[in-house]
Each structure stands twice: as C-alpha cells, then as structure tokens.
C-alpha cells in the first residue's frame, strides 16, 4: 500500500508541475494576476507530494519491505537503522527522488520567500523551475521508478554496497544535491529574465542569496565527499581528479564565478549579460554532472547501475535545457541594455579577472573530463586523463587567481590604485616571505615549489586579514573607533574576508599534505613496532568482532610518542556475507590538524599483516578551510541587503561607506 501511495503522489506532483509549467507563463504574458498566483500554490503542493513520495520510500526502507525491488536490492534487515535511512538515496532511483525532492523544496522556498519579487518575474521563475521538475518526474516515472514491486517478496535483502554503509552517505549526497539543484534557481531566474527581456541590478540582488546558498551547500558537499573518500577508500588520498569529482568541481567553479560577477552587476549594474550566461552555465554543469554520474558512461563507486535508456533520457534532458537555455540566451541577450563603464584596474576589473580565470580553469577541467569520452566515441581508443593533466592545466590557471585574490577586495570601485593596494599588502608580503624563508631553512631539500606554496597560502590568509584591518582601521585608529567601524561593516564584507581566509587555509593544508606526506607500507607480526615521524605504533594483535551485518577483523595498535602512550588505533577489515565482499576501515589518530592514518592490507601465510601507514601533516586544514569558506558564505548571506524577503534598506544607507 505505502509504495503505491508514494508512486501516486509522484504522479500527482507531475500533474501539478505541468500546470505550474504553463499557467503562470500565460498569466505573466496577459498580466493575469490569478493565473500568475497559481504558481505559488502549486509549488508548495508539489513539494508536499514529492515529500509524501520520499516519505513512502523511506518508510519502505525502515520497515525493510523487500517486496519493493529497490529496497530488496539495496537494503538488509540487519542493517543499522541510520543506514536504512541513508540507503534511500544510496541507489539510483532513490537518489533521483532526492534530486526532485530538493528541486521541489527550492521551488517552495521561492514561493514562500519571494514576496518582494515582481509578480511576473516570480511567476516566470516558478514556471521555469517547473519545466525542470517535469523533465525529472518523467525521467523517474518512466525509467527509474523506485516503487516497483517484486512478484514474490524475498525473505532478505541484498544489502547496501558496503562502501556506502557509512555516515558520509548521510551528508555527502544531500549536500551535493542541495548545491547542484540550488543552481537551478539561478538558472530559472536567468531564463525568466530572458523571457521578460529585462534585467537590472535588483535581479542580481534577488539571485545572489540563492546562488550563495547553493554554493555553500556544494562547497560542504564536495569537502565532505573528499573527506569520505579519504578515510573510506583506504589509500589516504583526498582528491583523485576522478571524473565524478570533476563533475562536482565544475559547477562549483562556475558558481563561484557567478557569485563574484553578480556582485559587479548588483553594485555597478555592469556585466549583466555575462552574469546571465554564468547562471545558465552553472546549472548546465550541474546537469552534466548528474548525467556523467547517473548515465553509466563512467564506471565509479557513484554509478549504482547502468541502463542505456536512462543515459539517453538524461542526455535528452541535457540537450533540452542546456541547448534551450543557450539558444534563448543567444536570441534575447543582445536585447538587454549594456551596463556601466570601469577601468581595467578597479574592483570590477579584479572581479572580471577572477571570472576569466575561474571559467578558464573550469573549461580545462571540462576538457580533461570529457575528452576521454569523446575520444572513445570517435576512435574507440581508451585513455585515462589523471592527476598529471590537471596539475599541468588547472594548477597554472588557479595560481594567478590566488596571487590576485588579496588585491581584489582592497581595490576601489570604478578606478583603483594598484600601487596603493600593493603598499597596504606589504605586511602580508613580508609574512609570506618569512614563511618561505623558514620553510626553505627547515626543510632544506625537496620540492622548490613547496616553500612558495606555503608563502602563497600565507599571503592569501594575511591578505584577507589585511582587508579587514584596512576596513576597520585597525592599528591606525583608537580602539573604540575600530570597534565601531567593525560593527558597522557590512556582513558581506566580513563574509568576503572569511571566505578568502578559508581558501588560504585549504591551500595551506593542500601544500603541506602533498609535499610532506610520509608513507610506510610494511608487513607486521604481532608485538612488532613500526615508526613514523616520531610516533611508534606497536601491533598488539588481531581481534575478531561481529557487527550487525558484517564480521570484522580488528588490528589493534598502541601509539606511543617518546615512550608515552597517546592512543590506540584499530583499523579493520570487514566482510559482508550478504554481498560476499569486504571493505577496509582505516583508523585515524588526530594530533592538532595533522593525522596518522593506518589501513590494513592482506594477511600473509606467516601470520604477518600488511599495513599502510601515513603521517599527514596539517591535512585537516583542507576541509577546515572549506568549512571556513562556508562560514564566510553564511555571514554574507545574513547581510541585510541580501536577506531574502528583506525590505529595501533606507535610502541613506544606499551609499556604501566602507568600500
């Protein structure tokens, strides 16, 4: 009964989406308020019905109803409850249901909080949102129905892929999807603006909070995915330039560019046409990401099942929305009025620089990701494009961005003074130089790039702090004035500084981890000891343990430093009988921001066991930096000016004092 209810709710959501796709557009054209208002109610109702469908599938999983094919294939009655919840989206059908749930959720948010939007814009945005929703409801109902029944209900399920039986599955996909799908709002706003043929600074103010929200979720989703791969896959890497990872990085790069160009549009009424294009591109790349991951053209842990009809269907959705979006853009964009004027050296110029390099870097990732697919389709030759390619292309293109980043926020709008800014960054440069010198002396040999990487990271971090101290007058003005200015500083200015600071922190972690990561691979017998960077790990022996749906062999290690015990590490090998497969669970010991990483290999005939041991200096900064970036985004989102639904600020604050 429950699965049928879910199925029916999904069909009703499709019907509502069809209404919402058409009525508001007609309403907006004929200025019929009643027709336009349909969109708000249908958006809320759509969300309600998709939520019912999603709830129904969740209920099937929680009650282990194996008569539903999807539950049978991806669940097990003995699985811990939390994984019964998360396995709802640990498979193709369920993850697409999550996709539309989030899509409907964003639609409902616009309906609820978009009261300050002009009526026609709101109606058009919700209609475009509904076009996307319609396509995906059809996709689910025709090719990926999660509610299909099996004629004879099996007694036991086939269990979830053990790699996915992890708390990471609870966070990573929902966050990533919130990001992907969040960009659909920017897309809908862009298409609505093109339909209306009108766009102004206010448009950017409405779009920016949604983009920011999506960007924050995507940043967290990517960081979480990276940390999950790091501890779950057992070889200590945190980024593999895997096509599936690139699929999430591309929308992030385009989204980051969009955030920055929307600032120019909002403040200076310039770059309007370009901002529209970025909004279309960011969501197009999200769709391409979904296609790459879901169509089965790539084989990876993310590809749950491949079925050619699905691939073709998603490809059609891609062509329709990306092709349609870009065609509409080509047709209507020339009608939009061009914006303001600015000198190359100015805040606007810096933001254009940012956009230029971000989009170019995004393009190289795009080529690296799709070239193997294109080559195989054309010549049948199979190649792999891996880290070396991206280090050679993405790296050099990202470098100028990082160097220029501290300059941007310090430049004035319209016409900037680069020498003045350079003077103000002298302290940051000095700090970077000291950092380079210290690393050179301390390390001595090794990569020449490493000290400069550290220097660059310090420069970015210090640059963000310089921005704040310049704005508040720190070190120049009396303390009381500084405090006053700090509290008067717009939240978005704090957000910028914090997010840039976060990127510097991530960079620091990346440079440290990739240059000074130490690896040991040894075969150990009980009572033997292995040492790494002053830590001695004594192997105590192997203990078997029975988990809920797996058996586990735990190797126990006592970690000592200078003879003093500081912890116990228990990496393990798990065997899942229901899937006759096994996973390696790495053990992590955190010391400050550094980690000791231990994972197990095979046991040998002589009683020894292979272990892989790493010391990863400052590795946690990689993800902490991402969290700081998200905090910066949150600060910026809380800015009064951008708050969704906030009344327009009084006229006297319109002039931005501190910038």
């Amino acid at each position: 009964m429950i699965p049928e209810l879910g199925h029916y709710a999904l069909v009703l959501a499709l019907v509502l989406a069809l209404i919402q796709s058409t009525a508001p557009v007609i309403g907006a054209r004929t200025r019929d308020a009643a027709l336009m208002n349909v969109a708000g109610s249908t958006a809320l109702a759509q969300f309600g019905f998709v939520a019912i469908a999603f709830g129904a599938l969740t209920a099937c999983y929680v009650t282990s109803d194996f008569s539903v094919a999807n539950v049978f294939e991806n669940s097990h009655s003995q699985m811990p409850l939390v994984y019964k919840f998360t396995s709802v989206w640990g498979n193709h059908e369920g993850s697409m249901l999550l996709w539309v749930l989030i899509l409907a959720f964003f639609g409902a948010l616009v309906a609820l909080f978009g009261n300050n939007l002009p009526a026609t814009l709101k109606a058009n945005v919700l209609a475009v949102q509904s076009w996307i929703a319609t396509a995906f409801y059809l996709f689910i109902l025709f090719t990926s129905n999660p509610f299909l029944r099996l004629p004879d209900a099996p007694f036991e399920g086939r269990d979830l892929n053990p790699i996915l039986q992890d708390i990471g599955l609870a966070v990573h996909p929902p966050m990533l999807y919130l990001g992907y799908v969040g960009f659909s709002i920017a897309f809908s706003f862009a298409i609505a603006a093109l339909i209306e043929g009108r766009i102004d600074a206010a448009w950017a103010r409405w779009v920016r909070p949604w983009t920011l929200l999506a960007w924050m979720c995507l940043t967290l989703g990517i960081a979480m995915g990276s940390y999950w791969a790091y501890y779950e896959l057992g070889w200590g890497g945190w980024w593999f330039w895997d096509p599936v990872e690139n699929a999430s990085l591309m929308p992030w790069l385009a989204g980051t560019a969009l955030l920055h160009s929307a600032v120019v549009m909002e403040k200076r009424n310039a770059l309007k046409v370009w901002t529209l294009l970025l909004a279309i591109l960011a969501f197009s790349l999200s769709l391409i990401g979904t296609f790459l991951v879901r169509s089965g053209v790539l084989t990876s842990v993310h590809t749950f099942a491949s079925d050619p009809t699905r691939g073709v269907f998603i490809l059609m959705i891609l062509v329709l929305f990306i092709g349609g979006g870009l065609a509409l853009y080509a047709w209507r964009a020339p009608l939009l009025k061009q914006g303001g004027l600015f000198a190359p050296i100015s805040r606007e110029g810096a933001l254009v620089f940012n956009n230029l390099f971000l989009t170019t870097a995004c393009a190289t990732v795009f080529i690296g990701t799709l070239y193997p697919l294109a080559l195989e389709a054309l010549t049948d030759e199979k190649i792999s494009v891996g880290a070396p390619f991206f280090n050679l292309t993405f790296g050099p293109l990202f470098l100028p961005l990082l160097v220029a980043m501290p300059f941007g926020p310090l430049l004035a709008w319209k016409r900037g003074d680069i020498l003045g800014v350079a003077q103000r960054l002298i302290a940051a440069c000095a700090l970077a130089a000291v950092g380079i010198a210290i690393v050179f002396i301390a390390v001595g040999e090794g990569s020449v790039l490493a000290p400069f990487g550290i220097g660059l990271a310090l420069f970015v971090i210090a640059g963000a702090l310089t921005d704040l101290s310049e704005r508040t007058g720190m070190f120049r003005l009396p303390f009381a004035t500084v405090r006053q200015r700090a509290s008067g500083l717009p939240r978005s200015a704090w957000g910028t500084a914090v997010a840039h600071f976060g990127l510097g922190v991530t960079l620091l972690g990346v440079v440290c981890e990739s240059n000074w990561n130490e690896e040991r691979i040894v075969a150990l017998k009980p009572t033997q000891t292995v040492s790494i960077r002053g830590y001695d790990l004594g192997f105590d022996g192997v203990i078997p343990r029975q988990g809920p749906n797996f058996r586990e062999q735990i190797a126990r290690f006592t970690v000592k430093r200078n003879g003093e015990m500081i912890g116990v590490m228990e990496p393990s090998k798990r065997t899942f009988p229901s899937r006759s497969t096994s996973t390696t669970e790495a053990a992590l010991l955190t010391r400050g921001a550094s980690q000791i990483y231990l994972s197990l290999g095979d046991s040998n005939a002589d009683g020894s066991i292979a272990v892989r041991l790493y010391h990863k200096p400052l590795v946690l900064l990689i993800w902490l930096g991402a969290v700081v970036m998200v905090l910066g985004g949150a600060l910026s989102l809380s800015d009064r000016r951008l708050r969704v639904g906030a009344p327009k600020p009084a006229a006297k604050f319109a002039a931005q004092p501190a910038e």
């Binding site: 004027l341 190359p344 190289t364 070396p388 691979i521 290999g601």
Partner: protein, 152 residues
C-alpha cells in the same frame, strides 16, 4: 580610456588567457594521458618499453604469487594473451583471481609489466567497463556474467 579601448583591453586579456589555457591543455594532453590496453593490444601493438599504459583484464586463475616485502606477481589475461605483472604494495579489497583488474604502470624491457597502481572493482556486481569491453572483443564475455545474479 574610451569605452572602445577598455573593451579592447578586456578582449585582449581574455584571448590571452584562453590561448594560455589552450597551450596548457594541448601540451598536457600530449604528455600526461595514459592509454588503456588489453593483453592482446600489448602483444599486437609492440609497445616500446617504458611506455606508460593502463592494462586491464582478468587476474588469471592460479597465477597469483605473493613474495617478500608485499611483492606480488600475477598474470592479466583477456582469454587470448597474458601479460605478467609485478606490483609492490597493498592491493584493493576486491582484488582476486578470476576477477577484473586495471593496473597502471610501465612495460619493462623483459616484456613484463611493472604496475605502480592496481585498481579493482568498486562493487562486486560490476566489472570495470574497459575490462568488460576488452573481454567482449575476445568473445569471452557473456552478457550478465559481470553481475552476480542481479534480477535486473
């Protein structure tokens, strides 16, 4: 500066960056891509020793030998030809005889393959796609044999 000059600066800089990116991409594509080969390809193409490739196929039954210091030797087969592989390190959880494998490394002058990374499947249900295709070419693949009886 006039509007025209500013636009020229912008276009010039953009073209410069795009040109730089194109140059980087082309040179990186020449240097850093790795071709996938089945054991039959290796035999037929007469690849020069030292060429970096990906080798894919099945781990031949009975060919896996474990040595000291985590050294392992095994043969990768596509049913037609075999290539002997050496690898030092820890192999993935799903690395087994008779299962699909992709190894990346170089061909040694003596014709063996020295792998520096070994990838197995992520999931017991699916064969790496390249391996499945290579086996299909040799006619050693039955539709569905990569799946362990999934009712799909």
């Amino acid at each position: 500066m006039t509007r025209k000059q500013r636009r020229l600066v912008l276009i010039g800089v953009s073209l410069g960056v795009l040109g730089l990116a194109a140059a980087l991409v082309l040179s990186a594509l020449r240097e850093s891509i790795v071709f996938f080969n089945s054991p039959t390809d290796v035999a037929e193409k007469n690849l020069a020793p030292g060429t970096r490739i990906r080798l894919g196929g099945l781990v031949k039954d009975g060919s896996l030998v474990r040595g000291d210091n985590l050294l392992i030797r095994f043969k990768v087969t596509d049913g037609n030809k075999d290539v002997a592989v050496t690898y030092q390190g820890i192999v993935p959880d799903l690395f087994r005889e008779g299962q699909g494998v992709v190894a990346e490394g170089r061909i040694e002058p003596d014709g063996t393959f020295r792998a520096d990374s070994v990838l197995a499947k992520h999931d017991e249900n699916y064969m790496p796609r390249e391996v499945a295709d290579a086996l299909k070419k040799q006619g050693r693949w039955q539709e569905g044999s990569g799946k362990s009886g999934a009712p799909k």
